[in-house]
């Protein structure tokens, strides 16, 4: 157990709470920076993909984990980001501007989605976002002049000036920069009034309101920021997949994003990152699984989503706090050893109180 003696309020609002954290995060950063010197191209590519997932995960975490608004349609923002970015790159607009445009455009669409979403909560909201993503998918399929329709769209190669960002090493650094700034920005949000307003809306709308928090404004901003992050991830993802088709951003991807934040651990930024690592390595693990399974099992058409489903169910039943929650338990086991009691982390259940009046 670590006790921190605080002597001024600055310590409360610092990003790093103690020297230990500074040490470990510096180490992490150094390791990440050194990867390109000894890892193979393939693994750098995979890591860049994990960074991209992490950005999208942070976006969804801010909305679902912190504001309590469930979105089953976040793949749509990924798609909007990817298509907008490729379209403007194709027009000859420089990489940075085109990426900024796609972030802003995704935020704008997120704000628009918030209009119907503000009027509903919980499950209604989940379905509204789902409906939204299906509509976006249809628009992407049929707006041929911009998106190429079902034929798809080739993503132009990224470059800044004469520097091509296409090689895996360079792209790795690009993604690293974006993911670190995303983490920083979301940490800033979480330690400022907006972040507190978001958690307040999540935990009790009624008292948030009586504390002077404008529910509509907070939710709209949450949607906009979340969509912005996801749009950024989409723009980067476009280069990773190289060729955009409308069904690259379907319901399955939305569920995958949601799986990411749930498995990682709702309500923590760590969770978003852990979830991204998990999702990033899952295909490899599944490929290994397929190789080692008997022919009949390996050929099941829906094997991957099926295993997603299985993991989702298992995590929700056995470890609702996700990987991050498990990590906290393991850590406190060692910190408090040998005094650790299982009941410290006992789950609190609240019995169903109806949300309805008859």
């Amino acid at each position: 157990m670590r006790f921190i003696r605080k002597t001024n309020y600055h310590q409360d609002i610092q990003i790093f709470k103690h020297d230990g954290q500074i040490f470990w995060y510096t180490c992490l950063m150094l390791i990440l920076l050194s990867f390109p010197f000894f890892l193979s191209d393939f693994y750098l590519g995979e890591l860049a993909l994990i960074f991209i997932y992490a950005i999208a995960g942070i976006g969804l975490m801010l909305l679902t984990g912190y504001t309590g608004l469930v979105s089953l349609g976040h793949a749509a923002f990924l798609g909007i980001g990817a298509y907008t970015h490729s379209y403007f790159l194709g027009l000859g607009i420089p990489f940075v501007f085109s990426l900024s445009i796609s972030v802003l455009f995704s935020s704008l669409i997120g704000t628009l989605l918030a209009i119907p979403a503000l009027r509903v909560t919980g499950i209604y909201l989940a379905v509204a976002t789902l409906a939204f993503s299906i509509i976006v998918e249809q628009i992407l399929s049929h707006w041929v002049s911009v998106t190429g329709g079902y034929r798809g769209m080739l993503v132009p190669d990224p470059s800044i000036g004469n520097l091509s960002l296409k090689p895996n090493t360079t792209f790795y650094f690009v993604c690293l920069i974006f993911v670190s700034s995303s983490v920083l920005i979301s940490l800033n949000i979480l330690r400022s009034p907006l972040g507190r307003a978001m958690t307040a809306v999540r935990d009790s709308e009624i008292s948030a309101q009586s504390m002077g928090i404008n529910l509509a404004r907070t939710k709209t901003i949450a949607f906009a920021i979340s969509a912005g992050f996801t749009g950024l991830a989409g723009g980067l993802l476009a280069h990773k997949i190289g060729y955009l088709a409308p069904d690259s951003f379907n319901l399955l991807i939305s569920i995958q994003l949601l799986l990411m934040v749930v498995v990682g651990g709702l309500g923590s930024l760590h969770g978003a990152i852990y979830g991204a690592i998990f999702i990033g390595f899952l295909p490899q693990a599944l490929a290994l699984l397929r190789d080692n399974l008997p022919e009949k099992f390996a050929q099941i058409p829906g094997l991957e989503p099926g295993i997603f489903g299985l993991i989702l169910v298992a995590v929700l039943i056995y470890e609702p706090l996700g990987i991050y929650g498990r990590w906290l338990k393991i850590r406190s086991f060692f910190e408090e050893f040998p005094l650790y009691r299982r009941s410290t982390h006992k789950r609190q259940r609240n019995f169903l109180k109806t949300e309805r009046l008859r």
């Binding site: 499950i123 209604y124 509204a128 058409p301 489903g309 989702l312 019995f351 169903l352």
Partner: protein
Amino acid sequence: MSFLALEVLLELTQLLISGVSQGCVYGLIASGFVLIYKATEMVNFAQGDLMMFGAFLAYAFISIFNFPFALGLVAAVLAMAGIGALIERFAIRPMIGEPHFSVLMITIGLGFIFRALAGFIWGSEPKSLETPYAGKFFDFDGLIIGIENIVIVLGTLALCSALAFFFKTTSLGKAMQAASQNQLAAMYVGISVKKINSITWAIAAAISAVAGILIAPVSLIDPQIGFIGVKAFAAAIVGGFGSLPGAIIGGLIIGIGEQFAGLYLPPGFSEVTAYAILLTMLLIRPHGILTSVQIKKM
């Protein structure tokens, strides 16, 4: 009446009929959603996949094990009821007291599992369910009504009246309603909430099996047909979540709307009709047409 007007009228009626029968299927799946929501305040996103699984079971009983048609149907419905109860026992009961969102996610996961399972057992090739009435139709002077469509409508009507009867008159039905409003209070007055929940899930799964069997002759069965569950979900919300008649009405609106959009609007619109109707509904009347619930303010 001129010949042209007659032609148009004929076309409209034809569309209306296929819309109604499609809408009935949406409505049936939607009523499964509503049933579970009413009794447990949980939302079962796997309803469409249960429908798919039910249709496959009927196919297995009738076309593979050569059961007589009626017996095969009954067997499929009963088997689905059993599966529903099992789902409740092993995936939903551990979640009592957890946020609704978690339960929603679990059912999404279950949907994927069922799809993979169906793909594993029956493959991804579309299958057709052999029915005694397949391909037969009535021809009223050019107006063609398939018997499948009539069966769908009649089946829906019969099932809805049975459900209404069940909730209005039987004590089990009333106990289910009580449990939905306050689980703890229901427990105190001696209602076994666990039993009620598993019965609810069994009934909902059985309903979805019926929907699957009704739709099977019209569209082929493959592991992906469960996706119409999403449209059915839209139907449930449009009708007013928590209202059984609302679910059917919502289903009809979406079914008919889709048919007309398919004919009169550019391609792609038919696919999004359900969701466009849903979003519009959320904008103008967020709690649906027949609202039986009011959300508490505190």
